[in-house]
């Protein structure tokens, strides 16, 4: 054991336990498998306890924990790389790339709606519940790629490398995820509000 530093005493198991649920949620989004998600979270908390002396206090505990989680998830994903690379592009409901949103000339079939000042939604707990439900609705591999990009903040180069997906397909999947989420939020949140 190294001599106890300030950072070691800063982490009691309970401190880290408090983050378990969020970590699990993030892991679930990417792994879509409860057992695997529980495993990586457990490993993350354990690694955090063991490596507490490496926590410099410069980043928030959250950033530090998600950093560890990210690596655990990537390890897990590496094991299913081939599955992701082959399945992702052919995933259900994604063949048409939302062709129906556009007419034969490639223009919007229906003008996208104006969300006004959507930031006000960010103050509402209910909005995030809707957002979570919309994310749950994404096809598995599309959700994984989207989560790697937007939750873990990985760049597409990293994502390609870790999943074996080409840069082009990665772009396609992110486009699909964003479009699906846009439509879902439009329907379940912004649409419902403008219809009033």
């Amino acid at each position: 054991m190294t001599k106890p530093s300030e950072s070691v005493t800063r982490f009691k198991l309970e401190d880290l336990e408090g983050h378990r649920r969020s970590l699990f949620k993030f892991a679930m989004l990417q792994l879509r498998d409860e057992a695997q998600a529980e495993d990586v979270v457990q490993e993350t908390l354990l690694a955090a306890m063991q490596g507490a002396e490496r926590y410099t206090g410069q980043a928030s505990v959250r950033t530090w924990l998600t950093g560890i989680l990210k690596h655990k998830i990537i390890d897990q994903i590496r094991k299913s790389v081939r599955e992701i690379a082959t399945e992702a592009v052919h995933e259900e409901g994604s063949g048409d790339d939302f062709d129906s949103l556009f007419n034969e000339r490639g223009a919007h079939a229906e003008k996208p709606s104006d969300w006004g000042s959507p930031e006000t939604a960010l103050a509402q707990k209910k909005f995030f519940e809707v957002l979570e439900r919309c994310m749950d609705g994404l096809p598995k591999n599309t959700a994984r790629i989207f989560a790697m990009r937007e939750i873990m903040g990985m760049d597409t180069g990293e994502i390609c490398k870790e999943t074996g997906i080409s840069a082009t397909n990665c772009g396609v999947l992110l486009y699909r995820a964003r479009t699906a989420l846009r439509l879902c939020l439009n329907e379940r949140w912004f649409g419902a509000r403008t219809r009033r």
Partner: protein
């Protein structure tokens, strides 16, 4: 369709890509031109940007919720 113009469908794709990589000069100009002329695509673009912000706030808020539950 002129070679100088992209369709809404293409603009939606390029707009998404712009969040993931630095666009090439040609793509950037085409997108900017299209957005200048097309209100629908400006809305899509605003929705993309909001989505990114919402995702990062979601990460923040779930950790805060955890911390609050602990107290």
């Amino acid at each position: 369709m002129s070679i100088l113009m992209v369709t809404c469908k293409e603009a939606s794709r390029i707009g998404s890509e712009a969040l993931d990589r630095k666009l090439g000069f040609r793509e950037r100009v085409l997108l900017r031109m299209h957005l200048a002329l097309c209100e629908g695509c400006r809305r899509v673009d605003a929705q993309y940007r909001f989505l990114r912000r919402a995702m990062s706030e979601w990460v923040e808020s779930s950790f805060e919720k955890d911390a609050a539950d602990q107290r």
